[in-house]
């Protein structure tokens, strides 16, 4: 009996499950790239998902970006004032927002809002067998549900990052203008003096990666949800946790690569 249970798993139950999931994820990714570049293309559904992912997140992202700009400026001022370097605030804020805060904060918000939404939506469709029904009705559910959502999150995230960056800089300008009476021209000159094209491109690249990660995590968790309504909640929760974890890992790796290029 004991011998039989040992033969059931290659290493252990947890390790076997992990590697099994990893293989499934790569299969899922392979299928995504295959379906993305083969016709027919679901343009309308992709636009629809862009609306849900991008436009519907806009208000939340705008508010968050604006508040981050103000708060980060207020928190940084005392340290710089100690050295008499308050005039460096625009440079500091622009570096912080463009290089790190805008892509990271936007993607974390999107992971919470969009990722959980995708996970829960697809999960509920899976457990209520709507996806199976689509297959029966000669509709490719993967192309219609997964490809459109992953594409939408990947494409919309850079645009949301640009919005966040803009709002963050606006918030920082308002705070700096109130305290240091810095003009808009001086603020822009100072802010752009320290950032480079590489910073902009790397931020947009990060946003693409994070958007893709959120889409894949949400779609995979939803598409493979099991055990009824409990599985739906689990899928939504797992999407947020996994997406955020992967975003931080990616952030660390991309920063290393960008610094090596810089």
């Amino acid at each position: 009996m004991e011998k039989k249970s040992l033969n059931k798993f290659l290493i252990s139950k947890k390790f076997d499950t992990f590697f099994n999931e990893l293989t499934n994820v790569f299969r899922f990714l392979g299928l995504y790239f295959k379906e993305t570049f083969t016709s027919p293309f679901e343009w309308k559904e992709t636009v629809n998902q862009c609306f849900n992912v991008g436009y519907k997140s806009l208000s939340l992202v705008t508010l968050t970006g604006f508040i981050i700009g103000i708060v980060f400026t207020k928190q940084s001022r005392p340290s710089l004032s100690t050295f008499g370097a308050s005039s460096w605030l625009p440079s500091l804020i622009s570096i912080a927002i463009v290089r790190a805060l805008a892509p990271l904060v936007t993607s974390l918000i999107a992971a919470g809002k969009v990722g959980s939404n995708i996970g829960a939506e697809l999960g509920s469709m899976k457990v209520t067998e709507q996806i199976d029904a689509m297959e029966v009705s000669a509709t490719n559910p993967f192309k219609f549900l997964v490809v459109t959502r992953i594409t939408a999150t990947t494409l919309m995230m850079p645009i949301l990052v640009l919005y966040t960056g803009l709002m963050g800089m606006l918030g920082a300008f308002i705070n700096i203008h109130q305290n240091e009476l810095t003009s808009f021209t001086a603020f822009i000159k100072n802010a752009f003096s320290t950032i480079s094209f590489l910073d902009i491109y790397s931020s947009l690249f990060k946003a693409l990666c994070y958007g893709f990660t959120i889409g894949v995590a949400g779609c995979y968790q939803g598409y493979t949800a099991q055990n009824g309504t409990q599985g739906v909640g689990k899928a939504a929760n797992a999407t947020v946790v996994i997406a955020m974890f992967l975003i931080f890992i990616e952030e660390m790796l991309i920063v290393q690569v960008v610094n090596a290029i810089r």
Partner: protein, 322 residues
């Protein structure tokens, strides 16, 4: 409804692209990416951590960026800079380049300075002369040396103050001894009186100086005898000649005086005729008798000569003579 969503997504993407475009253009404008430029070079011993893309300043204005940093020769570093075409007319071939920093702890930059209008404008691929300025490390080394000196000075002061506090040395006595203090007070009073006297002396000196000034003014007035004496070189020669002649005359006079003295000494002796005449009484009586005889002899000779004129033999001779 679906068409409306498409429009909203389109607007959303469009605005995002506009933000992206504005960001790129602003950054490009700031980094002078879209401005026409030309390369110039400078070779430094040490670039102090200058990086590609660092700013190039001329008269405090950003005129370009560092394009490339590469080793040149053994250990020198060649810095290639992209200079805006607009700045070409302001930078001359004899301008110099040095490594500076944007603020005290800011990024390293290249500073172009100097240049004269006499020199032609800088052209593509020209090499600028460089000045190797002081690095932060050099300044820190100097500061460190200053700190050491300051430390030694403060230690010396500390020792001095300790000695004073413990009552050693003149300064301590000066500060603590009341008798010395009263003596110094008396000395100060004396010094005050001396100073009052000095003041009077100085006032008198002032007056004397005024007189001297007036005198020297007269000396400088032309036509004045003193001025002539001071300025006329011919008169000086004459005076010199006169002094020489006077010198010779005084020599002769000296000799004459000596002769006279010798003569007068001889007059007092009886071994010569004049001395005998002056000093011997018998000779004087004899001389007196002789003179009386001569007087009577001369009277008698007059009578004889008159008688001779009337003589028959000589009368004719005297008539012819008349």
């Amino acid at each position: 409804m679906k068409n409306k969503r498409t429009v909203i997504v389109g607007i959303f993407i469009f605005i995002g692209l506009i933000i992206f475009a504005i960001t790129i253009l602003t950054l490009g404008g700031q980094k002078k990416t879209f401005v026409k430029s030309f390369p110039i070079h400078a070779i430094f011993n040490d670039v102090n951590g200058l990086l590609d893309g660092g700013n190039v300043w001329f008269s405090g204005v950003k005129v370009g960026t560092v394009k490339k940093i590469a080793f040149h020769g053994d250990s020198d570093v060649e810095v290639t800079m992209n200079i805006d075409l607009n700045a070409e007319s302001h930078i001359h071939k004899d301008a110099k380049a040095k490594i500076g920093s944007d603020g005290l702890i800011g990024n390293k930059i290249v500073i172009i300075y100097g240049g004269t209008l006499a020199s032609p404008q800088v052209k593509k691929n020209d090499f600028l002369a460089v000045e190797n300025g002081l690095s932060t490390d050099d300044m820190m080394a100097t500061l460190q040396a200053n700190n050491k000196n300051l430390m030694e000075i403060t230690t010396d002061f500390k020792n001095i103050s300790r000695k004073i506090d413990s009552g050693k040395g003149i300064l301590a006595t000066l500060l603590n001894d009341p008798a010395l203090s009263s003596k110094i007070q008396v000395s100060a009073t004396d010094l005050q009186a001396t100073l009052a006297n000095l003041k009077t002396v100085s006032e008198s000196s002032k007056e004397v100086l005024g007189n001297l000034q007036a005198f020297s003014g007269k000396m400088n007035t032309k036509g004045n005898s003193i001025n002539d004496l001071a300025t006329d070189t011919l008169m000086y020669q004459k005076i010199k000649l006169t002094i020489n002649q006077l010198n010779v005359a005084s020599g002769s006079l000296n000799k004459l005086t000596e002769n006279l003295q010798m003569a007068s000494e001889k007059f007092n002796q009886k071994n010569n005729t004049v001395g005998l005449l002056l000093n011997d009484a018998s000779t004087a009586k004899s001389m007196e008798a002789t003179l009386k005889n001569l007087e009577s002899g001369s009277k008698k000779l007059d009578q004889d000569l008159e008688a001779l004129q009337h003589n028959i033999f000589f009368r004719g001779f005297f008539k012819k003579k008349k």
